[in-house]
Symmetry: C2
């Protein structure tokens, strides 16, 4: 069957998604009987749209971002529109994450639901700020919302909680959900570097962004555990309900001391039962050699579920890069329509 | 919606499944809108059947096995039948695994498919000996076959490969898929014990069976990697196609030597591409400190997938006991009908 995709956001991840669809169309058609057609791409200065499908080979010649869409529009002037066009079976949302207002993702998602599209979100902002609104709007319209890309992407988190642990009671979730901060803490631990030295190194390697506040202050981890908790534990929290502490206060001395005690400091994001209520917190935490996440090093991520009938189930790995995020969105689309 | 379950096999796992259904019926109904009714249980000397549902509270008073079913039949004489009755929406297959002929599971599964039941298998024998036959019979009849319980149970393996890695190319699968052998190797490594000492210990603790050949000789691991490979990599192997070496030849000296080199011996089950073909093997293998499965100790199990777009994705844990196996079957049922 043909599934028509509308993509919003054409940065690194959006472009990687286009590449992935182009490279894997045969495989996806053969294995899952799904023919993916990207009918539109929404950029910050207008959208390109063709009901028969965007010419992906041509588009990929122009780099990324609004400029690439405009270049494409110059050659296909009837494909470029100032106003966004909402058409297709599913929206793949890949605009930059804004955790204050959730825009522009929120409007794009709500307009897409209005137009009858299922939602596959890679960006976190709209979901973190307006989780219940989006989920209930989608339900009212008999549409589905998936967001593996927003919950640690190529590392299966929400899949395991929803699918592999179906029927279990999840008592707690504990994760190392951000690759950048885990890289920094790993380097500080292994090389005796200070936070300042390590963040500069991470920035020069492209592992941390120049403005790395979302990562370093624990906000990104907070967004992910929030979405997992709201989805899997039935909470209705927003980011303001969380206790979040980042890694920018972790000193060389803290690391030394932990080491001396045979411990390792990790930025743990946790949701756990306390007095009959789920509590969420993100903070640098000393873990011991026998902790299930002790082996999660460098830019790797990991998650642990503690359940009633299946015991402890943990996962780690998953490429921490734009291709991994795009692959998570492709997975969600396949699982919507297979 | 009501889903009527036929259970075959009423040993430890079968009984645990009955308990789980009884304890979780409210939760499953509320969360997934599935009302589970066990209409029949097939034992080795006859079956109990009631189209309105077996009285689980009563049944659980009688222990397990054929005798329990007979006791139940004494009180409910119209419920006990010498011949098996095939009725319901899904069969949960939990008879003992026979890897030579796959019986009695094979006949029970084929008769159930004939009668229009979806299949959820915990036992491995029928699938290992007759994988293609079962899958194609089910397809012909528009039925589905799930077997988390046969592929490491509470550890998600096939789920991750099929669902969380949808759209990926899986280049290799590597697993520690048997808890008993992993327990033995862990103890030998940590306590400098011989294989003979450790197996006796494991038997006295109930971790190894008195006849532990299936585990110790690597057959159980072989069955699991075979099912994973046939399901996820498209191979059509049977157990005879595999190169299997157990842990009964591993000596104290082998462990010493590995230790000296900073390595740990694990019973690895692997499926990997070699000259364009997937090869499967099970054998004791030295792994280094940075191997993703290095932290899998004791009766724990673990699995690693190497993929094209999502990189390495690993999982470990999952209760290695009858309750975990029963929970895996319950999960499969929920995922069939949710």
């Amino acid at each position: 069957m043909v599934k028509r995709i509308l993509l919003s956001g054409y940065g690194n991840v959006g472009k990687e998604f286009v590449k992935l669809v182009k490279d894997n169309d045969e495989h996806v058609k053969e294995k899952y009987d799904i023919e993916l057609v990207i009918v539109g791409i929404i950029g910050s200065q207008g959208c390109i749209y063709n009901e028969k499908g965007i010419d992906l080979d041509l588009l990929l010649k122009f780099g990324k971002g609004a400029d690439a869409l405009k270049e494409y529009g110059k050659i296909n002037p009837l494909s470029f529109f100032k106003e966004n066009i909402y058409d297709g079976d599913a929206l793949v949302e890949a605009t930059p994450t804004d955790i204050i207002y959730g825009q522009p993702a929120l409007n794009i998602i709500l307009d897409s639901i209005q137009a009858g599209l299922d939602i596959v979100s890679i960006s976190k902002g709209a979901l973190v700020t307006n989780f219940r609104k989006i989920i209930s709007k989608a339900r009212e319209n008999n549409l589905r919302v998936k967001y593996s890309g927003a919950t640690a992407a190529a590392l299966p988190t929400i899949d395991i909680g929803e699918y592999s642990l179906a029927g279990c009671q999840i008592n707690s979730i504990e994760g190392i959900l951000n690759g950048t901060t885990n890289y920094i803490l790993t380097r500080m631990h292994e090389e005796n570097l200070s936070f300042e030295e390590t963040i500069r190194e991470a920035q020069s390697l492209g592992i941390a962004e120049v403005n790395s506040d979302l990562d370093v202050k624990g906000i990104d981890s907070g967004c992910k555990i929030l979405l997992l908790s709201n989805s899997l534990l039935g909470t209705e929290y927003t980011i303001g309900d969380l206790k979040i502490q980042g890694i920018d206060g972790v000193t060389k001395e803290d690391i030394e001391l932990a080491k001396k005690n045979g411990m390792v400091i990790k930025l743990l994001a946790r949701a756990y039962l306390s007095d009959g209520k789920y509590k969420i917190e993100v903070k640098p935490t000393e873990i011991a050699e026998d902790h299930p996440l002790i082996g999660v090093k460098g830019t790797n991520k990991g998650i642990v579920f503690n359940t009633d009938t299946m015991g402890m189930v943990a996962a780690f790995g998953g490429a921490s890069n734009p291709r991994g995020a795009a692959a998570a969105a492709l997975k969600d689309i396949i699982n919507l329509y297979r």
